[in-house]
Symmetry: C2
Subunit: 393 residues, 2 copies
Amino acid sequence: MSNKLTIGMFGFGVVGQGLYDIIKTKNLNLEIKKFVIKNADKKRTLPADLFSTDAETILADPEINTVVELIDDAEAAYKLTVRALKSGKNVVSANKKMIASHLEELVDIQHEYGTSLLYEGAVCGSIPIIRNLEEYYDNELLHSVSGIFNGSSNYILSKVFNENQQYADALKKAQELGFAETDPTLDVGGYDPKFKVCIVASHAYGIYVKPNDVFNIGIDKLGQQDIRFAKEKNLKIKLIPTAKEIDGNKVVLYVLPRLVGKESMLYNVENENNGVLVKAAFADEQFFYGKGAGGHPTGSAVLSDIAALRYGYRYEYKKHLESSALNYSQDYLLKVYLRYTDDQLIEKLNFSEITERYYAADFKYVIGSINLQQIAAHKADLDQEGNFIAEIA
Amino acid sequence: MSNKLTIGMFGFGVVGQGLYDIIKTKNLNLEIKKFVIKNADKKRTLPADLFSTDAETILADPEINTVVELIDDAEAAYKLTVRALKSGKNVVSANKKMIASHLEELVDIQHEYGTSLLYEGAVCGSIPIIRNLEEYYDNELLHSVSGIFNGSSNYILSKVFNENQQYADALKKAQELGFAETDPTLDVGGYDPKFKVCIVASHAYGIYVKPNDVFNIGIDKLGQQDIRFAKEKNLKIKLIPTAKEIDGNKVVLYVLPRLVGKESMLYNVENENNGVLVKAAFADEQFFYGKGAGGHPTGSAVLSDIAALRYGYRYEYKKHLESSALNYSQDYLLKVYLRYTDDQLIEKLNFSEITERYYAADFKYVIGSINLQQIAAHKADLDQEGNFIAEIA
């Protein structure tokens, strides 16, 4: 009943190797014919004739019907994904930046060429959130999808909060463990979770929003005062991307640190784990939890996509067909905590309401309501050392 | 692209009504043509000609291609499900007892007649665990699937643990809220979660085990001493069904109260919520959380099944085809806490090892290792007032 897959794989890093480890224990009616890698000189654990540095050995091989793309470089990944899809090959990718940046075009190409692009591994590692949004919540009105989408920054926050480690030490440890991207700004600056929430939004709400149009700010300016503030109130700080329907016709997307209390399922998501909260009109609150990073967890998601391709599986993007009424918006009032240095920042930000103000020699903060548009317009200021902003749930 | 569904629905209780509420807000290419109900005299919120007390108005109507079965009576549900499947109608059911008791036969009928039986709503309400086991973990080696599968007993445990309520009061409240079955033994005695874990086991491991062959004991003998014991150790007691692979060729199934610590995702599952823990070889630990009971949550799962039938969806029972090597077993060593009254019980139970013993005038317990076979052989003794057994994680 299943179609035999002949696979060409780009990349043989931690995910690729994890995947190969999984596949070799199975009888899956599939064969990996070729790996294309960047560095020919690196020692490999598999026979040399499986490897090539020439993309054409995969892209021009008519026998290869499935491309698995696991490389870092989003632009290179984009080019080879487009080429593969247009030449009748299905593609599995875990490259969130590539997918988020080009999603609308990639959906069009799938329709035009009748090929399938699957990318469960691109969002929250092992958690099957895309598949569930596609298949299970396809008729649900979703109030919001949010959560902990970035294992590396969550690992740092756990170490800083629970073990009183210094931010810089925790970041270094995350990098050593392989959780963090080569450029840590992608993680701790909230870019990686932004790519993921853009992908999620397309399956949850049927809208395609470019990552550049979405506000993100991260945890890299987190200070000891913020941690003390949170702990005194029995809260933790987590980095949370949010996709949320408002007013029945708009969807807001943003990435912000958030002060989270014990009553939230996200409070207990620690270290490199991810958690996705889905609030649905009828199913009510649902939560998915699992490893967000690492070769085997991400490899298992990629394998699940590969296995599904044997049965001709493709995303239907059903919500997009129904959702012409939904528009992306940044016009949304948020309650925030803001630690700041320069009083002028508060004036500039044009809070709708300030409900608390605190002054001390070395620590000033306000709590109040502010429009997301205001926050987005002043990202450069908020990103300055001495300022830290977090949403209050 | 989707097939028009003409639906006959058996039952119009809390789930049926919830479902109707959901469907009427959607444009789903489906029509509910007839409800068959037991009591003709009850006042209904919909036009009278939609209702009948005669099952034939659905089963003998060739226009009806989809049967949604939401009645309490498992034997009646079984008969009409078989009849519908054999006459070319697909069936959606939320009747865990019916499915668990007849699963192997129902799978055979589906294959023979080319019809589809879906039952996501039968297991953990809104949580899409069956779909994920079928579609997402189909190539994963699963170490175990366990969790909180019964909203009613979990509600009682939450009230007893967190609000110091009396067991009897909490049970009464659960019944008033509609979480508990008419016969509370099904919930608090661990039968309802047993039905569910049997269904889960078929999708996780491909084995069909009759509920009667699976050991269950519940929380109805829980006493103040047990609660104090747990609280002193910062543990909670939860009622946990477990399906677990052991020794690479056996699967054990059982339902037992368990002492659960803060490090477990199940620790924070409170009230009528459910949580499913999946431990997988490559994906690692995954957790699904959501409402386990109630008209809308369960209705949303049933709707998801109905919607999937429009696209010809059916469970493939893939693991069953691969799993001839797995056998059901009760030969498994458990670590347990046992409060007891009669010293002879301890002798009878034939512990493999006792590591702790405590005696007081009104409270005696042992902690030790014991084979599940021993526990199952002495269920009648363990069910006596004055005894309470719980697994230690």
